[in-house]
């Protein structure tokens, strides 16, 4: 059925893995009763919420990593060298295309935030506020994925989307873990703003 791949996808999202492609297959939308008309608005609010909190999350992350991240953020957190899903959509893009891109983006982010949260729980267990923000952002991302799944299924009959996750930080040094998290979050700040802007006309209440 279609439920299993989604569940598998979510399980994989919780588990940081390297980029892989997952297929969403099935003939029906999961929990059709929950895919209501308000999902579109909920998705927009979720993106807006993530956009509103992303910068604070990144700043707090840098602050909690200590030196040299707090002073050398531009250098150390340059995301150029890491994988991040391409988000090549704009306001004129088709809604379906935007939705798929969004799904890929937040599937990646969800997995990456899981990695970062796990690493920070290990490296900065006393940074309660950071951990709380990471948890909240992760939860919001999960909800967003749920809503996007619903929209893709209900509106576009899309049951499978290829997604790719980032490199796992498992086994890496503390510095590398911090740096990888820093790079992902910096890119996240950039992309979420773009996503919010792109999503606004597509998900505005009609």
């Amino acid at each position: 059925t279609g439920v299993v791949p989604f569940v598998a996808l979510l399980l994989l999202q919780r588990r940081p893995v390297a980029g892989r492609a997952l297929l969403v297959t099935g003939s029906g939308c999961p929990s059709h009763g929950l895919c209501r008309s308000n999902v579109q608005e909920q998705t927009r609010r979720q993106v807006a919420l993530l956009n509103a909190t992303a910068q604070e999350l990144f700043s707090l992350y840098l602050k909690c990593q200590g030196e040299p991240f707090s002073t050398e953020a531009d250098k150390l957190c340059n995301p150029a060298g890491i994988f991040f899903p391409a988000f090549r959509v704009n306001r004129t893009s088709e809604r379906k295309e935007v939705m798929v891109a969004m799904y890929k983006l937040f599937a990646f982010l969800n997995a990456s935030l899981g990695n970062i949260t796990r690493d920070q729980e290990e490296l900065n267990p006393m940074a309660k506020e950071l951990l709380e923000r990471l948890h909240n952002t992760t939860k919001t991302t999960r909800g967003l994925i749920s809503n996007l799944t619903c929209l893709l299924c209900k509106n576009y009959n899309i049951f499978q989307v290829d997604v790719r996750y980032g490199d796992s930080s498992k086994g890496k040094s503390a510095f590398k873990k911090k740096q990888q998290g820093c790079q992902v979050l910096r890119k996240y700040v950039q992309v979420i703003g773009q996503a919010a802007r792109v999503l606004l006309p597509h998900l505005s209440p009609s």
């Binding site: 979510l10 209501r36 919420l49 956009n51 909800g143």
Partner: protein
């Protein structure tokens, strides 16, 4: 024999619910078991249990299914419910499990008598869970980013079984762990509520008899949020004196949800909240300017919020914050009144001006000072007098006249409109009419009928009437179009004197007064009664009025209650204005107890008992008795005195008897040389024959002696003896008198020797012997042997011897002489003489 021992041994084993006939296996085995094992049964259903005996027990103890007895607890199940399926299986059937209890045991009668337990099971009887109903959820905001979702439901009927409730929730493609209630069965809290995702929520109830699910609730948790109330609420003043700005911070960012607000406010100290129209605060904001407030007034504010679209729950009201508006000029002039003291000099007044401090909503700020202006209206040329006062009263010395007083209050924002008070030379205008009072809860309503003329306003004065202190006047001003006001601050059970003055444009009416109570009570003590005057059948009672503090109300009447010790109580009602009352128709010489009761509209109080006793005699009764008695006594005394006066001579003779002076006695002229017995002629000259008519003379004849008994004559014998023994020694009158007894004389005359021996004595007495009855008495001279001279009186008495009273006088003399004899210790002689007399009388 073996069988019996086998049963005993096996019975012991059965008591322990085990029997081990097959010891070879090394395992302890039961002799049987019940199917089903520990069943859970639906209440009201039917149930059948089977007790299956082991074959080994059959061989060992000769026990069969026909011997099986079913028991519930210790109660034997009726055998009608048994069924022997075969020699090793017995069943029992219950048509209604409500009659079941645990344990259900299978027993057997060993050897036909001894009951032994084979097996037992526990039976649970209950109900399948009902479908949970009324599921509802609310998301509580705990902190800025923490929300918990609490769902509650109706778990349905009690199942009598362990029933597990689980709150389940899920997203379209994600099922979350169940929320299991702790300690309750009707609510559960999910700690990670996630917004903007439709969440399906339901409750599942499950026990051994079944499972039930509630209706499914699909909700976005953001739509059931009860947010935290706004924090850091502050109030600041605005430029205008009728506005305050309220600011706050929201716990929820606009990206999560936008909020709308409710703002409520009230004057500090008030209890009633006012609310800002909800449409004014329906949009997200962090401040609001509240307008239409009173100047210089402290307000308290509180705010709450909820999701802007109205879906969800209102937060709690925030903590109250206060703020004060800025000042504005006083909105009205202070009410002003005066008291005029003209007691020192009618032409010069001491005017006490007094005014009330403006209420906060009238003062609109802090009153810095009052400006008092006095204008003499009777003299246009008189200059205005101005006074700046910080207190609320001012005293002026003014000549009698008409004045206009103007008062203005000032605060930092400006001056109030002026208050004007006209002080006329006299209160000559019409007063109010029909002044009445009426208590209304804790206020005293004062009403009146307006005079015919137009009245600007009324001044109502009142004061607490006290017996110990002066009446401290309070006052209030009412507008001219009202005919009654409520007086506040009136104490119950206190007497107030209320006066109403009408103020006209050109003068003032005289005051009308009335006394009133807000609430009356019975007097705090009763009158102390005492008697002013007590009579035989009436008593005048007197008492003092109760003081106004003791009255607690209007004294409607006094009641006098009086009674005797054992009598009925009599009640008399007395007008309250009186302090004296006369009780009448009382019983004389009776103890009465009287007490007095004072009554108000709300009760009575009795004073102490007083006792008094009515008098035995009425007024004048004693006088009516004593005066006549005294008069009678006086009359008797007077009559006695008169009588005595009339009979003074007689009395005098009794009191002061005439003792004849022997020296003047005629007998002294007798020749002492002439024996008495020979002087018959001389005696004849002095006492003509028959002159002694009344003198009692005992005439004793010689023959008469015989007529006396010997005993009667003994005294005479004694006399003789005494005479013979004391003859030569006697020298007193008494002695003489005694010796001159007739008998003595007779004896003397008989004995010439004795006469010769007493030749030196004076003979002064004459004994005349009356003739017996009509016989001519024979005069016998007797010679006195006394040496005492005779008194003149004797001479006089002899001179009167021929008078009409001479006889009686002589008898008295005789007796008096006897008395003197008695006093002179010669009483026996007199008594003897009397005896003699009596004896003669008796003979007569």
């Amino acid at each position: 024999m073996f069988s019996r021992w086998n049963w005993v041994a096996c019975g012991f084993c059965l008591v322990l619910n085990i029997c081990s006939p097959d010891a070879s296996g090394g395992l302890v085995q039961s002799c049987g078991h019940i199917i089903p094992e520990s069943p859970v049964l639906a209440l009201g259903s039917n149930f059948t249990a089977l007790c299956i005996l082991n074959e080994s027990c059959l061989d060992f103890g000769n026990i069969y299914a026909s011997q099986i007895i079913w028991k519930i607890k210790n109660r034997v199940v009726p055998k009608e419910q048994y069924r022997e399926i075969n020699r090793t299986v017995s069943s029992v059937t219950f048509n209604d499990t409500s009659s079941l209890a645990t344990p259900l045991t299978c027993n057997i009668l060993a050897d036909g008598q001894i009951e032994q337990n084979i097996y037992g099971i526990t039976v649970a009887v209950g109900l399948a869970p009902e479908k949970p109903k009324n599921l509802s959820c609310i998301v509580h905001q705990i902190s800025q980013s923490t929300y918990i979702m609490t769902c509650t439901w109706d778990p349905g009927r009690h199942t009598f079984l362990d029933t597990e409730f689980r709150l389940k929730y899920r997203w379209p493609e994600q099922v979350f762990p169940d929320c299991i209630p702790k300690g309750v069965n009707n609510s559960c809290t999910v700690t990670d509520a996630q917004f903007f995702v439709n969440t399906e929520i339901w409750v599942e109830a499950e026990n051994a008899l079944g499972k039930a699910e509630s209706d499914r609730l699909v909700v976005d948790p953001v739509d059931i949020v009860k947010p935290l109330s706004p924090q850091n609420v502050s109030v600041s003043s605005e430029i205008i004196p009728t506005a305050l700005k309220l600011s706050w911070e929201n716990w929820i960012s606009d990206t999560v949800m936008t909020l709308k607000f409710n703002i409520r406010y009230r004057i500090a100290g008030d209890t009633t909240w006012m609310e800002i129209p909800s449409e004014d605060t329906a949009s997200p904001r962090t401040s609001f300017s509240v307008q239409g407030l009173r100047p210089y007034t402290e307000y308290a504010f509180s705010i709450r919020c909820m999701k802007e679209d109205g879906v969800g729950y209102w937060s709690n009201w925030s903590e109250t914050k206060t703020g004060i508006t800025t000042e504005a000029p006083p909105s009205k002039g202070p009410p002003i009144w005066r008291i005029i003291d003209a007691s020192h000099s009618p032409a010069s007044w001491t005017v006490h001006l007094m005014w009330k401090a403006l209420k906060p909503h009238e003062a609109n700020g802090v009153i810095l000072q009052y400006e008092v202006t006095v204008r003499d209206k009777s003299s246009l040329s008189s200059p205005l007098k101005k006074y700046n006062v910080t207190s609320t009263n001012h005293t002026l010395q003014l000549p009698e006249g008409t004045y206009e007083v103007t008062l203005i209050a000032r605060n930092s924002a400006g001056a109030s409109p002026p208050s004007v008070l006209l002080i006329p030379a006299s209160n000559s205008k019409a007063p109010v009419k029909n002044l009445t009072t009426l208590p209304k809860h804790d206020k005293l309503w004062v009403g009146w009928t307006a005079p015919n003329s137009y009245v600007l306003k009324y001044v109502i004065e009142w004061c607490l009437v006290s017996s110990t202190s002066d009446c401290v006047i309070e006052w209030q001003i009412a507008l001219g179009d009202v005919q009654g006001i409520d007086l506040k601050g009136i104490k119950p059970f206190k007497c107030y004197l209320i006066t109403v003055y009408p103020l006209y444009a050109d003068g003032q009416g005289s005051g009308q007064s009335v006394k009133a109570y807000l609430k009356q009570d019975r007097p705090s003590k009763g009158p102390t009664v005492q008697t002013k005057k007590v009579g035989k059948a009436e008593a005048v009672l007197t008492w003092n009025h109760l003081t106004v503090e003791e009255q607690n109300g209007f004294i409607r009447n006094y009641t006098i209650l009086y009674k005797t010790i054992d009598g009925n109580e009599t009640v008399v009602t007395v007008d309250p204005s009186k302090t004296e009352y006369t009780l009448s128709s009382l019983t004389s010489d009776t103890l009465y107890t009287v007490r007095m009761m004072a009554s108000t509209d709300n009760g009575s109080r009795t004073g102490p008992d007083f006792t008094f006793t009515t008098q035995k005699f009425g007024k004048g009764e004693i006088e009516a008795i004593v005066v006549p008695v005294c008069l009678a006594f006086l009359l008797i005394v007077l009559l006695g005195v008169l009588f005595c006066f009339n009979k003074r001579d007689l009395i005098k003779k009794h009191i002061w008897p005439i003792v004849p002076d022997p020296s003047k006695s005629n007998i002294a002229q007798w020749s002492p040389q002439v024996p008495a017995k020979h002087n018959f002629n001389a005696k004849d000259q002095m006492y003509p024959e028959g002159s002694f008519t009344d003198v009692s003379v005992v005439e004793i004849e010689a023959d008469d002696k015989k007529s006396f008994s010997e005993q009667d004559l003994k005294p005479f014998d004694l006399l003789k003896k005494e005479k013979s023994t004391s003859e030569g020694h006697s020298s007193g009158i008494g002695g003489s008198s005694c010796m001159s007894s007739p008998r003595q004389s007779v004896s003397d005359s008989d004995e010439g020797e004795t006469t010769q021996n007493t030749s030196s004595t004076v003979q002064y007495s004459t004994v005349v012997l009356n003739g017996y009855r009509d016989q001519t008495p024979v005069q016998v001279f007797s010679r006195s042997e006394s040496t005492q001279p005779l008194l003149d009186s004797e001479e006089r008495s002899e001179d009167h011897a021929g008078g009409a009273d001479s006889t009686a006088q002589r008898q008295q003399y005789f007796k008096q002489n006897g008395g003197q004899d008695e006093n002179n210790t010669d009483r026996p002689c007199f008594e003897r003489a009397k005896q003699i007399t009596h004896g003669n009388e008796g003979d007569l």
